[in-house]
């Protein structure tokens, strides 16, 4: 599949993105921006205070060690910088995509159709909701709208990355056109549905750029937790200063701030917003446009997944899997007749019948091929199609018909359908298939079994979803019997048969009333209310504007299976946050053992017993802890951007695994890291 350049998979540390991120990271040091991140804001204030202390030491205004204060100051600034860099990196990928999108927003002229029917050329920015424009081959679509007249092929690669053109036509579910795309043949009259600045591309740009980014509910809760813990540690550190005074030890500002910065959860505080942005970015890399971070987060929480049968669970077309001949007919003859009847049938079903017939009889007999054939196309009135065959040298012609069983039964007159075929019809219907009858001159020859084929690997996918605690519900317009059979074959948990927009809506409401979050996909205008009601609604890009506006995600590839991937990304997002929070807090244990003895060893040599890492000197111990604290942020940037490894397991297994890696690992790793840094620092002679 040829993809547009903006959707290219970029390497995690693409040099262009890194360079830009470094500049952005410096800009983000502005306290007016940083205050939104309470943890890093505290670090910045601390860094500013140690800078002052360092300058005083340099100027000889105090008795501190200027080199030590200088090094601590530098590393505190690095700590803040690493955090802003992480955020800038996460945004960088989106910004690169936004730039590419902006290029498509070049000056466009529109042929506006005035009330009187005259056409005038205006700048696209002048168009308002309700205006009607004419778009001809070669024109760029000036704005979002619905086709009200005409049919045209449109190149939508600017937004979807898919180079194959799509058909847009007035009426129906394929009427939506998007600004920035190009009509490559024929023409369309389009009614504009959005004002300039509010178009789909504008929304896309602000979304990928993060301009419209708001903190998600879970992110807010986590920020509160982190801010609370920061205050608690601030109290602990300030109190420690006074306890030191009582014991006749004055702790310097530099050391106190070092302890504070090491204790407050800087790792998660520094990476929190990067994790969120990277989550939206990962969704975008799957070519899904999430309208908000909230939607991605909600995807991780989904309890019930509504999946359309056609296209999502089944490959969308029914296929012939079996021919059942009448008692006096051979299988080979039936295959020949069936083959003949479907020669002109270009539908996927028709082609599958030909394919199956060829498996039974390689070629049609020569006289069949030579015969004069008049094809009768399928009509909704007769509900059958067929062929009239006039063999060379004969007068009469044979009427071969293929169609719905009851329609064929009607033309079969008194002979009707033989018992064995009747049984076959019942069997096929109960198994969820569609029986087609074939008759020659009113005599029923046999039955074709058309079957809905479930996509490969769907059962395993549903098993995984079940393991994650997500219930899958298949939505289909089929009758309950058929629906049940396919649901059983695909392995979904439940199904909704004979679905209408109303029943779909009722189902969503019922699930939500019991506290569950519901995700669904849809494309038609009548899906719009359900898409809006669902907690996660993914609209297909091929769908109508109404559907796209109601949904909180748009799949540019229009692949309904994508919903499952979005759910996985949402889960991964939450897991990454939890893992890094746990890691960050667990880290504190080692830092205490580095800093507390260092603070008081001079006054109370006995506290050296707490120096279990056997760090070189009080200064190297504090410096090592601060350096570790800064480096761990940068070391975890790739993890924050990629997300932690996701496995579709049950909650208990995932939790056990992550507690061992990030909880236990979080306790142990800093002991090793701080010790290693201490060896290097002391080797450098500090």
């Amino acid at each position: 599949m040829a993809k547009h350049e903006i959707h290219e998979q970029k390497k995690l540390f693409d040099p262009a993105i890194v360079n830009r991120a470094v500049v952005d990271a410096l800009k983000k040091l502005d306290p007016r921006l940083l205050y939104k991140n309470p943890v890093m804001f505290v670090v910045e204030i601390g860094a500013a205070l140690t800078t002052i202390a360092w300058i005083r030491d340099l100027a000889g205004m105090s008795h501190g060690d200027a080199l030590f204060a200088g090094l601590i100051t530098a590393w505190l600034w690095f700590t803040v910088l690493f955090a802003t860099f992480a955020e800038a990196m996460a945004e960088g990928r989106g910004k690169a995509q936004a730039d590419a999108l902006r290029k498509t927003k070049t000056e466009t002229m529109a042929k506006k159709i005035e009330k009187g029917g005259t056409t005038s050329v205006v700048n696209a920015t002048m168009l308002r909701k309700g205006d009607v424009v004419l778009i001809e081959a070669g024109d760029i679509v000036p704005g979002d709208g619905d086709a009200i007249e005409g049919i045209a092929s449109v190149d939508e690669s600017a937004i979807t990355g898919e180079s194959a053109p799509v058909i847009r036509e007035s009426g129906g579910d394929r009427c939506a056109v998007t600004g920035g795309t190009r009509v490559i043949s024929d023409w369309l009259k389009v009614k504009i549905t959005s004002n300039p600045g509010e178009t789909f591309i504008d929304r896309m740009i602000s979304l990928v750029e993060g301009a419209a980014r708001q903190k998600t509910p879970n992110e807010i809760a986590l920020t509160i937790l982190l801010a609370g813990m920061t205050i608690i540690f601030l109290i602990a550190v300030v109190a420690l200063f006074f306890f030191g005074q009582y014991l006749s030890t004055t702790i310097s500002v530099v050391v106190l701030i070092s302890l504070l910065v090491c204790l407050i959860p800087t790792t998660i505080g520094g990476l929190l917003s990067a994790i969120g942005i990277a989550g939206i970015d990962r969704v975008l890399q799957r070519n899904v446009l999430a309208m908000s971070g909230r939607a991605v987060e909600a995807a991780g929480d989904v309890n019930t997944l509504l999946l359309d049968k056609t296209g999502t669970i089944t490959i969308g077309n029914r296929m012939a899997t079996e021919f059942i001949p009448a008692p006096d007919i051979t299988k080979e003859y039936l295959a020949q007749i069936v083959h003949l009847s479907s020669l002109a049938d270009e539908t996927p079903e028709g082609r599958s019948i030909v394919t199956l017939a060829r498996d039974i009889v390689k070629e049609l007999p020569a006289d069949f091929i030579a015969a004069e054939k008049t094809f009768i196309p399928f009509s909704a009135q007769t509900r059958m199609s067929g062929v009239d065959v006039k063999h060379i040298g004969t007068d009469g012609s044979r009427a071969i018909r293929k169609g719905a069983v009851d329609a064929i039964e009607k033309i079969s007159g008194r002979s009707g359908i033989p018992d064995n075929l009747q049984q076959a019809v019942t069997r096929i219907a109960t198994s969820g298939g569609t029986p087609l009858a074939v008759a020659e001159d009113g005599k029923v020859l046999g039955i074709i079994h058309l079957k809905d084929v479930v996509k490969q690997g769907m059962r395993a996918r549903f098993d995984q979803l079940r393991a994650m605690g997500i219930k899958t519900v298949m939505i289909t317009g089929d009758n309950p019997l058929t629906a049940k059979a396919i649901a059983g074959e695909a392995g979904v948990d439940d199904f909704l048969a004979e679905a209408t927009p109303e029943t779909k809506m009722a189902l969503i409401r019922k699930e939500q009333a019991s506290g569950k979050l519901v995700a669904m996909t849809g494309d038609g205008t009548n899906d719009a209310p359900a898409l809006a009601q669902a907690d996660v609604g993914v609209a297909m890009n091929t769908g109508t504007m109404a559907a796209k506006e109601a949904a909180n995600m748009v799949d540019l590839d229009s692949n309904p299976t994508k919903l499952i991937e979005v759910v996985e990304i949402g889960k991964q997002l939450l897991m990454t946050r939890g893992a890094l929070t746990t890691f960050s807090i667990a880290n504190d244990v080692a830092k205490y053992f580095a800093i507390i003895p260092a603070m008081f060893m001079a006054a109370f040599p006995e506290l050296a017993a707490l120096n279990i890492m056997n760090l070189h000197s009080p200064q190297s111990a504090i410096l090592s802890a601060v350096i570790f604290n800064a480096l761990i942020i940068i070391a975890l940037v790739p993890l924050a951007l990629k997300g932690i490894k996701y496995r579709p397991l049950g909650a208990a297994a995932v939790l056990r695994r992550n507690i061992v890696i990030y909880g236990l690992g979080g306790v142990i790793i800093p002991f090793i890291g701080i010790k290693a840094i201490d060896i290097i620092v002391s080797a450098c002679g500090i």
Binding site: A221, F243, M468, M575, G650, A651
Partner: protein, 585 residues
């Protein structure tokens, strides 16, 4: 512990058997207590309804309470605050005016204003810190009508709040969390009074005194005059222990032979301190329709209890290494129990003393049968640490469970994210509101414990109260504010807390430590009650497993532990390390 070349004592068989027996009894009483509590707070009839039912109905009629109408969390909090404020004022007035009131055979005068404030706060908040000696300050009337009333009332308030929280957690899509007045009345009538009567009778049978007689003057063998204080001890004692109040009738508290005559009464006391707390965990499980939820919380509590107990016991049994250098052995042998016996009653020995110290501080009780100050530094750190983590190990009646729920919420929130879902507890999402309220409660406690201590250690007026200096002095001050904020009420001793500074700062700590926790807790109850519970699925983070108990323990140790580690390292830990080097304070 590092530095020591000396072998720490192992647990003696005798000690092991005593502690094992304690644990068995704790397990055995949990379920019956929990089942009974469930009945009481669901408003069902109990076997006591036939005895007290008429009284319950009479109280409702007299006070105009409609027992069927339930309250939103705001109304519930309002009722609780009004009740606490009014009863605190009455107690204050009673102390100031006790010379005019009956039952004052010793003619004790008015209690000083600052001490009255401190004491009123202390008893209203179930702290029962006593900056005074009961026998020389409080008349019988003040003790019985004032202090004993609060022993019941403050305990009932604590239990009511815990029950309201449990209702909030287990209910789905409702606004109300119960009726405060009904909870208060039923708790007192069906739980506290009957159990106190039963316990009081056992205590009296064991030799505890119960009279309103004037003090007895005796002549000792040396011919000196000795005044022996009397009083209605057994009735006070029962609720002191049961309601985790801990305010002793006598200054010596449960070390006094009239207040704790035998090893049997001592053992009974440590059981009774935990009895309601352990029952509440089972009630929680039962009300949430999954008793494993209760046992998971119980498991975390029991682990922390045993860890503290063993640390304390081993440290005390090991004694002070400096005695070795003087040629005195403190190891247990056939002829002596060994260990650090300073400040301990020989009637109870190290096992019953460390058990009592651990239990009383786990549970916010504050009764003591030995002087915590005289413990070895590490032995003394255990009670201090137990209070610092918020007394969530069974805890003060009610307070232990609701305090633990703050850590449960944090654990669920921190680790729950790791399963890839918005964290849930009992099927309900933990969102920013619950996190915010939990943090307010935690912050208030940390601020009081550390903030007031930091102020006190650099305040020359406060420092005059100190009997010791160096790290031990720091422990004394820390203990005072930790005990007040945690509403424990036990004292480390060595600190003269009956000064204006301590009466007022401690009173404030008690107030903040109580109500800045309770009100957020009730707000959490209200917020959780409104949420819709979702049935658990394979993707749900299970909170009824040993893994969750382990996680909860980790979060408590890291979040609460790290808050206080700097302070502890300069107090008891430093003192311990210095002691190993031969220096004492």
């Amino acid at each position: 512990m590092p530095c020591s070349t000396r072998k720490n004592s192992d647990m003696t068989t005798n000690a092991f058997l005593q502690l094992f027996a304690y644990l068995v009894i704790l397990v055995l009483i949990t379920k019956p207590m929990g089942v009974y509590l469930t009945k009481v707070f669901r408003g069902e009839n109990t076997f006591l309804t036939s005895i007290f039912g008429w009284l319950e109905r009479l109280i409702y009629r007299l006070c105009g309470i409609d027992p069927t109408s339930e309250m939103k969390w705001t109304t519930y909090s309002g009722a609780m605050l009004v009740f606490s404020a009014v009863t605190a004022l009455v107690l204050y007035a009673m102390m100031r005016l006790q010379q005019f009131l009956p039952w004052n055979p010793q003619g004790l005068g008015a209690v000083a204003p600052d001490l009255s404030f401190g004491t009123a706060m202390s008893f209203t908040t179930n702290t029962n810190w006593q900056a005074y000696s009961g026998e020389t300050t409080m008349s019988y009337f003040t003790q019985m009508a004032g202090l004993a009333f609060h022993n019941f009332a403050s305990a009932a308030v604590g239990i009511a709040v815990a029950v309201a929280l449990v209702r909030g957690l287990v209910r789905s899509s409702v606004q109300t969390i119960g009726n405060f007045w009904v909870d208060l009345v039923r708790c007192t009538l069906y739980l506290l009074i009957p159990l106190s009567i039963l316990t009081g009778i056992i205590f009296m049978a064991s030799g505890m005194i119960q009279n309103l007689a004037p003090y007895v003057t005796a002549t000792t063998l040396e011919g000196a005059k000795q005044t022996i204080a009397m009083g209605p001890v057994a009735s006070q004692e029962a609720i002191k222990i049961l309601g985790t109040n801990g305010g002793g009738f006598f200054n010596a508290n449960s070390a006094h032979p009239f207040e704790n005559p035998t090893a049997i009464t001592n053992f009974l006391q440590v059981i009774m301190i935990f009895s309601i707390g352990t029952g509440l965990t089972y009630m929680f499980g039962r009300m949430s329709k999954d008793t494993k939820q209760g046992w998971a919380v119980w498991g975390a509590m029991t682990f922390l209890f045993l860890a503290g107990l063993v640390t304390c016991y081993v440290s005390e049994q090991s004694g002070n290494p400096n005695f070795d250098k003087l040629g005195i052995t403190s190891l247990a042998s056939a002829t002596q129990p060994g260990g650090n016996m300073e400040g301990k009653e020989v009637r109870y020995g190290i096992t019953q003393s460390t058990l009592f110290a651990t239990v009383t501080t786990d549970a916010s009780c504050g009764a003591v049968n030995s002087m915590h100050e005289s413990f070895t530094p590490i032995g003394g750190m255990v009670p201090l640490f137990n209070i610092m983590i918020g007394e969530v190990i069974f805890g003060g009646v009610g307070a232990g469970l609701y305090g633990m729920m703050i850590f449960v919420i944090l654990s669920v929130f921190i680790a729950g994210l790791m399963v890839g879902r918005t964290p849930e507890y009992l099927g309900k999402k933990i969102e920013s509101k619950e996190v915010k309220l939990s943090m307010i409660a935690l912050l208030s406690m940390a601020l009081c414990m550390l903030g007031f201590s930091a102020w006190a250690v650099v305040n020359p007026v406060a420092l005059k109260s100190l009997a010791n200096n160096g790290p031990h002095g720091l422990s004394e001050i820390l203990y005072a504010f930790v005990s007040a904020t945690g509403n424990n009420g036990s004292a480390f001793a060595g600190l003269n807390a009956n000064t204006q500074f301590f009466n007022i700062t401690q009173g404030l700590s008690e107030l903040i430590g109580r109500f800045f926790v309770i009100v957020p807790i009730l707000a959490i109850a209200g917020s959780m009650a409104k949420k819709t519970a979702i049935a658990p699925s394979a993707g749900t983070f299970l909170t009824n497993t040993p893994l969750f108990s382990a996680l909860l323990i980790m979060v408590i140790l890291i979040v609460a532990g790290l808050t206080f580690f700097p302070a502890l390292s300069l107090g008891p830990i430093l003192e311990h390390l210095v002691m190993q080097n031969g220096k004492l304070f």
